[in-house]
Every structure is written in structure tokens, then in C-alpha cells.
């Protein structure tokens, strides 16, 4: 019995727009449309999917090239440079910096 009531309620909801009247826009709307129509029409330029894919591919290649170059440069960097600086300078217990 409860099930039937629930189904009935669902059907009532589905049909709740039966007999409804159409909503009407405000009176001022046509004036706004006329104003927009008076402006010279320029349709937005569309970009084809091919152009968009080519641009995306170029950006991806650039990023990959940058990453490759960066990793190569990192490998080529002599690690001794960094160590020598650490070895040369030191901080004593009293906060003084040695090697300056």
C-alpha cells in the first residue's frame, strides 16, 4: 500500500507541470535585444581542432626539451664545486664562520 502511494507521488511530481502557463520575460527585454542587435556583429573566431592539437603538441615538446636539457645540465655539473665550498667554509660552535 505504501509502495503504491510512493509511486503515485512520483507520478504526481513527473506531471506537476501539467496545466502550467508559460513564463513571460520582462517588458524591458526587447529594448536590450534591440541594443545588442544594433552593435555590428562580429562572430567569434573559431580555432580548428587540428590547430589546437598542433599547439598542444608544440607546448608538450617544448616542456620535454626543457626537462631533458635541465637533467643533462645537472648531470654535467661537477659535484666537487658544491663540496669545496662546504669544505672551505665552516661554522664554529660560537657562531663564527671560518675560512672568510
Amino acid at each position: 500500500m505504501k509502495r503504491k502511494t510512493f509511486n503515485g507521488q512520483t507520478e504526481d511530481i513527473l506531471n506537476s507541470m501539467d496545466g502550467a502557463t508559460r513564463a513571460v520575460p520582462s517588458d524591458a527585454l526587447f529594448r536590450l535585444i534591440e541594443q545588442r542587435v544594433a552593435i555590428p556583429y562580429t562572430k567569434g573566431k573559431t580555432i580548428s581542432l587540428g590547430t589546437l592539437s598542433a599547439a598542444a603538441a608544440s607546448v608538450a615538446i617544448l616542456i620535454m626539451l626543457n626537462l631533458t636539457l635541465l637533467s643533462k645540465k645537472q648531470d654535467a655539473m661537477p659535484s666537487g664545486d658544491a663540496r669545496s665550498v662546504v669544505e672551505y667554509y665552516g661554522i664554529l660552535d660560537n657562531g663564527e664562520i671560518t675560512g672568510l
Binding site: F6, N15, R22, L29, F30
Partner: protein, 192 residues
């Protein structure tokens, strides 16, 4: 004058014909927009977009489809564009601020929608119906709105959507089945 003739006159720059066509279709266009967007200001903006498009594209109207079909087609496309834009805004609101800086009110929150033309005794049910419609896929939404709210025939809907009548019938059945499921889930969550 027939709408098809009005379109020919609009293409020649006849402002009076444009006004007549507007008067003839404003309620149909606005009501459809309101059913999709469920917000009066969004619906008015979409209605503007539709009539501006009609004005600019009148010269391209071939007469293969009736003027009403052509206008409904523009209306559906404009509404779906705006819905997609609104949904994108909602998605990106999590990346940007979701609260209005001035009022602190949650932005992109969809309030409950009451259609102004609904009968008083059906008001509560129609609020639930519109909440459920929002969750349907685009093509099911279109078929349901055009049939149940605009009261168009399956043949007219088929012409607007560029589908066969059988396909429209199937879309309507799926839309109703999904709405029943959404509403039953809603009831279950209310009971639990």
C-alpha cells in the same frame, strides 16, 4: 504574416518584422530557457542571445525546417551552451574562491527553483521535478523539457533534435525512468 515570412523580412532589415517575431516567440523561448537554466536572470540573458542570433542568422534560414523548429533549435543550443558554462564555473569554483568576497555567500550554489507559471497546488512537486531534471543527461533533459513543459509533439521534438521519432520516444522513456530513480533516491534519503 507567417513566421517564415517574418524571417525573410528580418533578413532584409525590417525592424517591425523582428518585433512581431519576438512577440510571437518570446514566451516559448523564455519558458524553454527558464526550464533549462532555472534562474530568471540567466533565462533572460539566454533569451537575448537567442533573438540576437535569430536576427543575425535570419538570412541563412533556408526554410527546410519550420521557423518554430529553427528557433527552438537555436534556443536549445544557447541554453545548453549556458548550462555547460555554468557547470564549468561551478567546477572551477573549487580552485578559486567559492565564497563571494563581499557578502561571504556561497557562490555557484543552485537555489530551489519555482516556475512562475505552475499551478499553486503543484508548486511543491514542481520544485522537486526541476531539481531532478538538473541531474539528467543533456539529451534526456531536452526531450523531457520540450515534451513535458513545452508540450511539443514527438515529431516536433525529433525535428528540433535532429533525431528520429523512435529515438525521441526512447529518450523520453529513459528520462522518465531516470527521474523516477532520482526521486525514489531522494525519498529514501529523506526516510533514512
Amino acid at each position: 504574416m507567417l513566421p517564415e515570412e517574418l524571417l525573410q523580412h528580418i533578413a532584409k532589415g525590417d525592424k517591425d518584422a523582428f518585433r512581431q517575431l519576438y512577440e510571437l516567440f518570446k514566451a516559448r523561448v523564455y519558458n524553454t530557457c527558464l526550464s533549462y537554466l532555472q534562474n530568471a536572470s540567466d533565462a533572460e540573458e539566454a533569451t537575448q542571445d537567442v533573438f540576437v542570433e535569430i536576427h543575425h542568422a535570419a538570412a541563412k534560414y533556408q526554410g527546410n525546417a519550420g521557423a518554430a523548429t529553427w528557433i527552438y533549435r537555436i534556443t536549445v543550443n544557447k541554453c545548453l551552451d549556458r548550462l555547460r558554462y555554468n557547470n564549468r564555473q561551478k567546477r572551477f569554483s573549487f580552485l578559486t574562491s567559492i565564497f563571494n568576497r563581499d557578502t561571504g555567500v556561497l557562490m555557484h550554489d543552485t537555489p530551489t527553483f519555482e516556475h512562475p507559471g505552475v499551478k499553486a497546488e503543484n508548486r511543491e512537486q514542481s520544485v522537486m521535478l526541476f531539481q531532478a531534471i538538473r541531474q539528467l543527461p543533456e539529451n534526456q533533459q531536452t526531450a523531457f523539457i520540450l515534451k513535458q513543459i513545452e508540450g511539443l509533439s514527438q515529431k516536433e521534438i525529433a525535428n528540433i533534435m535532429g533525431l528520429g521519432e523512435k529515438a525521441v520516444e526512447s529518450l523520453l522513456q529513459r528520462a522518465k525512468a531516470n527521474l523516477r530513480k532520482i526521486l525514489s533516491d531522494y525519498y529514501k534519503s529523506g526516510e533514512g
